[in-house]
Amino acid sequence: MVNPVDALLILTALLAVTLGVGIVVRWRQGRPQHHVPNEVVDPERLGAKRLGDTATLLQFSTELCSRCPGVHRTLSAVAEGREGVLHLDVDLTHRPDIAKHFSVLQTPTTLILDGEGAIQTRFGGIPNRDVVELELARLTSEAE
């Protein structure tokens, strides 16, 4: 057997590594990624008629996602408070093609599109509301 002191050390290491992984994952979630392909999104493909004039908050959800409704409410509220900003919530449950196209590996995933429909920012997980507001303010000032 491992002696008790070593066993406790192994246990401590296990706890530390698991905590570390959790903290890194939590830290990466909700942070904006700017280095994304600036692809122009076609609203027709997503089942929407049009995109926002200055910006679009494009949220990807699934039926099985417990955190998507909360994010939906937050992003809707953000979009309502701003002129020309539209919030689109696309259900990927039956659209694996869209999920594959945008390489969505977790829901919610949120993309911020500029007035041209080009992807500017990507959030994996729950986006931080203040950061979303900041990104939108940047896009709005650029559009003016």
Binding site: M1, V2, G22, V25, L64, S66, G70, T93
Partner: protein
């Protein structure tokens, strides 16, 4: 564009699985400790050694105690018994998630003291995650019975990491696997209302 409103009606409180994961992670941490202190990671100190004068070397058929132990000795190891309990709880969680002990405990003792959940969760991903936990722990049990050293504490440690991440960070790896498999079209294509 449409969100399944029917999914909300049949959902579960997402804090339930996290509560269960917290208890499971404590059990698994104890299991890792017992596994480390048990026969699984022990060197064969009481094993038989043959000294070959001509070859001038000590021949140890296996340096690991678990390989030398009889199957009954392997099965009576405290770490094995603890992991067996956790695996049986996973079986319960897969077969009948509603009546599983920690889910029942959550509903009767914890949930009445909390504010009502703001959003409900589909019960299928956490149930699938219980199955993943069962797979990992069962693999550890089988390998340990077969005399593989370290199988028990390593399997328990892997299962611990997953349940701890779920309990503390709300990060359910088994649920993610379910979503990836669903995306690949392997599981659960039907709508919740039709399932």
């Amino acid at each position: 564009m449409t969100r399944g409103s029917d999914a909300g009606q049949t959902g579960i409180d997402p804090r339930g699985p996290r509560f269960a994961a917290a208890i499971t992670s404590v059990l698994l941490l104890v299991t890792v400790m017992l596994g480390l202190l048990g026969v699984s990671s022990a060197r064969g100190s009481y094993g038989w050694f043959a000294y070959q004068p001509l070859a001038d070397e000590v021949f140890a058929p296996s340096a690991w105690a678990v390989a030398q132990a009889s199957p009954i000795e392997r099965a009576l190891d405290p770490g094995f018994l603890a992991l067996l309990v956790v695996a049986l709880l996973f079986v319960w969680g897969v077969l009948s998630p509603r009546t599983a002990p920690w889910a029942a405990l959550f509903r009767t003792l914890v949930q009445p003291r909390l504010t009502p959940p703001t959003d409900l969760e589909d019960p299928r991903p956490p149930r699938f995650a219980q199955g993943v936990g069962l797979f990992v722990t069962a693999a550890g049990l089988v390998l340990h019975l077969a005399g593989v050293p370290w199988a028990l504490p390593i399997a328990a440690a892997v299962a611990f990491a997953a349940s701890f991440l779920n309990a503390v960070f709300g990060l359910c790896l088994g649920c993610r696997m379910y979503l990836l498999l669903q995306r690949a079209g392997i599981v659960g294509r039907a709508r919740p209302g039709a399932a």
